[in-house]
């Protein structure tokens, strides 16, 4: 009953500084974005999810790309390649944004933090680093008014997320951590380890994404684990982000989609005069998108999965005229105990409460468009 397609070769895969620590913890390792990463630990995905929702979990996110831009021209290069209003970004603040091509297609989604007067950190998806760099580099070449440094390998990044995450980091930083408010970034020592703490995450919970020198990664991981945070892999991370209504590039966002049809137009600032995607994004902002990214909840028995067809009604699943979209992410949500998903549908079917049918491998299963997030912390 099991296919073995997941058993691909682990050679050529990159390893984070925490790799051996994951293996020691009996993590199941899988290839992800060119890295050999833990998908789950021995307790299983559901117990990892519960730990994050009820107390705290830690995630190795060292595989994510980290780029530092520094110099008087840093503001202008980031204005041109991201969709964030960089001049309005104050020191110590972060902003979710898109890296869009000249047609407004999403090459990647990213977080940009202003860490100093002329200094910024851009965090990008591991699997998109090559595509991002291919697109960014021509705009950087020849510029002498800033430097761009890829610091992915010289640093480790660990996310701690959950209702007690801030409390844990506060106790390890003499209360310095909680002075950093949501969507801000600041320096602090965590158990004596010099760190940059970003009060951001990908789970719908409060917490931090902590960047330290690579050789402090294992020390920080073990310190947080000893403080009670539960090790979490990519499996729980994917469910947690979906429950929180957060999109995943490669699933819900792609170069074939734009920020407006994804419902994230508010993160597409196109007014910067040198924004490469500015013209396209302005146009996309002014037109009605033909399709929209929706969240839906299963009514019937079944779990939505990526790639399944969404129909307006299910009397005949082979009737192509009833197909209105495709599932881009789906899972069983352990937190709300129901199948949940995202997908693009024709605009008129995107209204909250619209009844849909998901073609679950030949079974017509009823679903309903709902507001996201599926889960919101109290």
């Amino acid at each position: 009953m099991l296919s073995d397609k997941s058993q691909s070769s682990s050679e050529q895969l990159k390893k984070t500084v925490l790799h051996a620590t994951h293996v020691e913890s009996s993590a199941k390792m899988v290839p992800f974005g060119g890295w050999d990463m833990p998908v789950q630990y021995s307790g299983g995905i559901i117990s990892e999810i519960k730990a994050v929702r009820s107390s705290a979990g830690i995630f190795d996110v060292s595989h994510m790309g980290r780029l530092e831009f520094e110099g008087p021209g840093a503001e202008s290069i980031l204005s041109s390649i991201t969709s964030a209003n960089i001049p309005a970004l104050k020191i110590g603040r972060g902003k979710y944004n898109f890296i869009c091509n000249a047609a407004g297609g999403i090459i990647d989604d990213a977080m940009v933090y202003r860490t100093g007067e002329d200094k910024y950190l851009l965090v990008i998806n591991a699997g998109n680093v090559d595509a991002d760099m291919e697109w960014i580099n021509p705009h950087v070449d020849g510029r002498t008014d800033f430097t761009m440094n890829v610091v992915t390998n010289e640093t480790a990044m660990i996310a701690i997320q959950g209702s007690s995450a801030v409390e844990i980091i506060d106790s390890l930083s003499n209360g310095d951590a909680s002075k950093i408010r949501r969507f801000r970034i600041g320096a602090a020592e965590v158990s004596g380890i010099p760190a940059m703490l970003a009060r951001t995450g990908y789970t719908g919970e409060d917490g931090f994404e902590i960047i330290v020198a690579a050789d402090e990664g294992v020390n920080l991981w073990k310190t947080l684990r000893d403080a009670g945070a539960v090790e979490n892999g990519l499996g729980s991370r994917d469910v947690l982000r979906l429950e929180a209504g957060l999109p995943l590039h490669g699933n819900d966002l792609s170069v074939e989609t734009n920020p407006f049809e994804a419902g994230f137009g508010r993160f597409a600032y196109y007014q910067a005069p040198n924004c490469i995607a500015g013209y396209a994004l302005k146009h996309l902002a002014e037109i009605e998108p033909s399709r929209l990214l929706i969240g839906f909840k299963m009514i019937g028995r079944g779990i939505p999965r990526t790639g399944l067809k969404i129909l307006s009604e299910g009397s005949d699943l082979s009737d192509e005229s009833k197909v209105i979209g495709t599932v881009t992410s789906g899972t069983h949500s352990p937190t709300i105990d129901v199948g949940i998903g995202m997908g693009y549908v024709e605009q008129k079917y995107s209204v909250i409460g619209t009844q849909l049918v998901i073609d679950v491998r030949g079974r017509a299963v009823e679903a309903e468009v709902v507001d996201m997030p599926f889960y919101k912390r109290e």
Partner: protein, 124 residues
């Protein structure tokens, strides 16, 4: 991990024979590979199935797998605790986590399955 009184298929299902009724479930290897089981879809009682044909689906948080029946015959009982509380498949794959009971059409089909030692050897 692999009880000696059961027969096993290469698709990681097991069979326990009581008279001409075969109880069917998935092995410890299967449930560990799947991870937390969150959904089990089984056919209606009375359905006739052929040996090694698909009879349902089992889903973990991450993945979907087809269930193949190690024997053929008429499904005389389906385990509603497995469909209502799929975690029983992880907890007791050879006990409360059984999936279906089949009235065997041909007991000779059991000879095409593996004993515990042979099955275990395929996992190494």
């Amino acid at each position: 991990m692999y009880p000696e009184d059961l027969k096993y298929s290469k698709e990681h299902e097991w069979v326990r024979l009581n008279g001409n009724i075969a109880e069917v479930g998935v092995t410890v290897f299967a449930q560990e590979s799947l991870g937390d089981v969150v959904f089990v879809d089984l056919p209606a009682e009375g359905t006739e199935i052929e040996q090694f044909s698909k009879f349902g689906e089992i889903e973990s948080v991450k993945a979907v797998s087809d269930l193949f029946s190690p024997v053929g015959g008429k499904i005389v009982e389906v385990n509603s605790s497995a469909t209502d509380s799929p975690e029983v498949v992880n907890e007791e794959p050879y006990g409360t986590g059984w999936l279906i009971k089949i009235e065997l059409s041909d007991t000779a089909q059991l000879d095409t399955l593996m004993d515990a030692a042979t099955y275990q050897a395929t996992l190494d």
